[in-house]
Point group: D3
Chain length 306, copies 6
């Protein structure tokens, strides 16, 4: 029930402001629903009420088995080689993070800009412009992705209370912050993946919220709202929606390939180059192809039967 | 003449796009002339055709004597303590940089966004969206301020040819780039101040232009188009226009204060704390006040007579 | 029994040297028992035989539930905002460290000073001046806090033998060293919290012991002997004794606040800002106040009954 | 069986090339079997078919209990103080790594050299010169030690498939790479020790294989093929074979010493300096000597009975 | 005269050792004259007596005007994109360095290997194996390129005495060291370009000389003996000889292009994109082509007449 | 005259406080005149009124020609190998710094300690405890050496006014600060050597003065008041007074040695190892010894005649 409530609120604000031309909450950067739709036009999927592409829940489930290497294999076009970020502390290293990017941007506080932003927010019926303004808009399946420009002191997007709330609101989606968190002891007891640069005891401050669901930069990546976020022990991939299906299908093959490769290594009769990355002997090659086909069929049946 | 030419072009593009609601060149982030005026409403000065506040040329001249400490003294309100950036390589350490911020933002290349941006640029009559798109809009008195997110390889905003052009177009204004430059040997022979993170032989690449004269972040500073940029050996201050006059006046007093202080130290009769930061002895205090008044009068006469 | 033995020794040395004016062991910096008492005069508690404030054992027990954020909340006066240090490797991340600071300082070896220090130590009846000189003075409830100026090679305050001894002598108090340890494999099997910069196989060397229970600097913190040391996954707080009671009481409220907040989030009917950081709706506000009062009463009864 | 197969191959290649004067596979640096034997002449042990000293399996077993400190104690001659490397990420912190160094070196790709190397490799009957060329030569008991000059992107020596193969071929020996690995999620499920600088999703590339079983540099260490590699939570020691027996014997004594020291600390009757590093009281000294002798006898009986 | 003397010595040593199969001085890595010739077979130039390609003196002279960007432009094939190193301190920033790479490699000292190396050196008639062993072989036009693996303390390849000698022997060629130098005050008074990581007062030590004129790694570059080394304010390029002529010719065009571009910018009638990187207007295009041709002719006449 | 004035004040304060037992100004660490004399007892020289060893002015003059290497050569005993610090920005790289260490220590502000310190200062007749308290005590020939624990923001020991005062009071002695300075533009116009970690526009703050002329740590060096400070382009040496004469004498020989070595290199007839570090040929050896004797005589005559 809460989810509907939140959706209603978001849409209301947008409806009001769309009389102008954007879904503006008073933040410095506006990126209207239409602009969001334009810039993510390649997504083959439905959209969330806020305009973000909606990678289907079923694909989010399948993506839980993805590794960074499998995403890399499916995303290695020259103009998409900047979709990976690392250098984070990983809260629960064994737990893959998957979800739709909900982006938030902060910039260093500057009194004149902040005053005007907050006045605009009030005109739009918001009582303030804080991390909670954004957090209150989260949807199930979202990963909260925040640009806090690597800030440590005063750069803590959440403590354990709001982290708990994010977990509830996103149904365990996750958090990526180019900045810090506070209350690590408390947060480490909550079962949601999180990637952060560092930890500090101070609350967030000396910054201003400048964008919600706008394009943001995390490390060397341009993240678009609605990207499929996949995090493992190594780092985080931000996958444009149009690549998701292909990556998942290819990953199925890679899983089978690795399964078979290790099986052959277990036999102890081959050098690594006899088998990997592909078998040299035509007979082995054929054996592999048959194995691949059989296992793919099994997987497809499983997926269909779900 | 060239300047008029360029202004015309800029206005033309804006006129066209203002039929919509912003001065958009196709870049990802738009920040309309009206938004720019709204967010810099506190500026007491005229505006440039592109909407930026125009700190007067006479104040730019006076600002050439400012040091970072004098700006600090005039800008130390709690909500404006983030206006200073350092950690740059300084091209000509003895040469103060002063001018109006012309801001440019790049983000990591991402094929889908880039394609749509460039299509939008074409619809707006631009042949491309590159560093030169922005550089061609520079005005005399500008300092080119560029967010290239600290990028070294492929993050070189200019080589010596374009640096030479920027020098010509801004009349020696200057360059600040959170990124790199190339052709340092050539650039070091050109007489314009520049602040950059590092140097690389590669040309700019693997990025997309995402904003011209939008708010940007340089290190820990939110820079607004039209800020007065002041750079010395230590680093760079970005001064909101509404503070400029007060800082300049206060700096005159600081100059006189330092002049007098050093004169007294030269006499060799006082401990530092007798004189600095203010004289303890009432007689010295009076002497200083008279000196201050006399010198201020002289300075004001000079300024008036110019 | 060992404890009494050790106390006797310490007092003896002090008695002798107090004929002079300080409890000097020959180290370079002396800080007499009287100086220690003077500089920690705000402590409301009893003192240990060596002059350090003695935060009561019962408060040490209560402090085991403190998080860095709770200390931060109680210690955020302007002149006490430097009491937190981080950047350590944490030996047992899930285990809070609490105890009274026993401080030790080393400086880089310098033959002439070292020779004189050691001669003075001999005159005071000590056979040498080493890490063990200090370690032999530890009391139950102490945390050993050591300034080894970040030294890695030759900067290892203990290996597993002495770490084991520190654990026994402090009854599991803990160790903070701005320096390194050796024999991490062995140490990681011992159940005492420890915070260290790094690890090295070399033993301690090329340094001289310059102070025991003197004021020292750990990162950006001035640590006084007898400070309450609280370490969690994030870092270490050094709490002046006069703040301890207030912080503990406030932490009780914060615990209840977080308990209630999460309970409300679990209901799924509220946005985060409806509840956090304080409930907006007067009815909720009242509900919270009643909950707070009831839970505080319960806690106080528990504390009394102990 | 696979092992014999592999040995045969190695010897064949060597036999052929030894007609010249080295066991060259086409790589840039050649280090003939004779040179290897010359430069490791101090080893008292047998040799592997490729010329490396063969520290006996029984000593490898005993070395599993070694800590970095025990190696340090046995290897602290002035001209051997550079045998320790750290700063690695450790895959399985609780699991000691022990084995014989199998060294591999890569250098940055350079088209002209690479072309000639590969031509020479072909003349020697190899189909290429890649990480797998080296990996296919691994023997049981080996630790794969790789100089990839700290490279992250494109510097991944193995992903989970080849890591699995290395585990099978070396019988769980281990991996040290001054470079990166990929597919950390997969690798962390495989039970073999590994030390690496960092992790990246890219496969290895933009490098050329320049040496197999040649002297290489890992951090500040010159590693020779056949060195005994010992890794714990702190870092990795590369022990020249001639020191192995002495270090193992000395470590037995250190184990007993630590055992006894902790036992005495447990009694709670002594200051640390009464006992550590050696007991002061002649009676205790005697007690220790008797304990040492008894325990050493027990250990030797155990070792003999194995 | 000294040069002949030195050449004789080198050849003598080589003659002796060539009875074996390499020009070995006892160092750990040998790289015979024949191997050197094989691996640099693409060089179109004569060779020095030690086998290195000899880029002609006339080309070395022309290369003094090269900038890093011009080398970049001529060396941007995929398999040669690793030929640039930076991150050095530059001794004389305004002075271009040009010369033939004379390579030297050191590795961390290890007593057993060092002993054998030195014995082999003695058998070859050398009294030792030190930095001076290599320095004594330098030829006019050489740049001394040294891998000291970034070592600071004990990693100083020269002080001012040997730096002076290198200057004399190479006729001012230059020095690149991935390591340090000592006596910077003295060295800064000597007129030869130098690139080094850092400075330290210690002399070289705790290392062993492992190769002279072998392939070495400097940062991310594989350097071959005889490469043309070009250093400017930005960093150092190592150019394989086969690319030298083309780069020089192309640089002539780039010089003319920049000359013309700046001339046109001086006219003040064009936007940067009208002119740069190539003129858009066909008339301007033609003007440029004629200018280019005329200036190229002038340059060629100059070069011929020299 | 000012100097006498200052001395008087210092002595007065000391006289008063010596009734207690130390020359205390209220700072946290006290180090009495007697302690200072005890710990520097090896100095063969007179003392300044504050108890510091007074390296004679004539030796300070001779020391202006010292390089770091010459100090290194005279100070390389095992227990004095920690007397060198580097990693500073050097204000005037060509200008050697020489003088007697006047040490000052700051620690992070902590309200309770600061309050007590200031109260004690007041009881001792001082109006406060700030950087100027220390600066007002400087004597001609001093180098101000300050531990500000590397602090950048709020860690600026002086701006241009106080730097000017330090220059006047020390007669151009110099400044070493493990912290920052402000107003670099102004300071760079003042002719006194300075070594600092970094620069910031903020004034000093958030610290407390904890010691004047006490032992302090600068990087890896224990600095004693009265040490001879020698700074060149590389870094700073802190020389215990007892070593000064020997180092100066040895440096004279090194100067002559280098003079002769370069002269021989200029002849072009020798390899570097024929001459350096000492000539091999007995005839050359004799030539050098005669040259050395003659030049030493000349130097001694010069020194005597001064």
């Amino acid at each position: 029930m809460i989810r509907n409530l939140r959706s209603t609120i978001v849409e209301t604000v947008c409806t009001v402001t769309l009389i102008g031309s954007s879904c503006a909450f008073g933040q410095l950067y506006t990126f209207s629903k239409q602009e969001l739709i334009d810039y993510t036009a390649k997504s083959p999927f439905d959209r969330l009420p806020d305009g973000r592409p909606k990678v289907p829940d079923s694909m989010i489930e399948r993506a839980r088995d993805l590794s960074s290497e499998e995403v890399w294999a499916g995303l290695h076009e020259d103009s998409f080689r900047n979709q990976y970020a690392d250098g984070f502390q990983v809260l629960h290293p064994g737990k893959t993070m998957v979800g739709r990017a909900f982006t938030v941007q902060f910039m260093p506080l500057r009194g004149d800009v902040d005053e005007i932003s907050k006045n605009k927010a009030k005109e739009n019926g918001l009582s303030g412009l804080t991390n909670q303004t954004a957090i209150d808009m989260l949807q199930p399946g979202d990963v909260l992705v925040v640009d806090l420009f690597g800030k440590k002191v005063d750069g803590t997007i959440v403590g354990d209370n709001l982290f708990y709330y994010v977990m509830k609101a996103t149904r365990g989606g996750g958090l990526v912050v180019d900045g810090s968190i506070r209350d690590l002891d408390g947060i480490s007891r909550i079962d949601m993946p999180a990637y952060f640069r560092t930890v500090d005891p101070t609350p967030i401050g000396n910054v201003m919220l400048t964008g919600i669901n706008i394009p943001i930069r995390i490390g060397g990546v341009t993240v678009m709202p609605g990207d499929l976020v996949v995090g493992d022990r190594e780092g985080v991939y931000f996958i444009p929606p149009q690549f998701v299906r292909e990556i998942l299908d290819r990953a199925d093959e890679i899983h089978i390939h690795d399964e078979w490769t290790k099986m052959k290594f277990d036999e102890g009769r081959y050098k690594s180059s006899d088998i990997y990355s592909s078998p040299k002997d035509p007979k082995l090659q054929k054996e592999y192809q048959e194995y691949l086909k059989r296992r793919l069929d099994e997987i497809h049946q499983q997926q269909t039967s779900k």
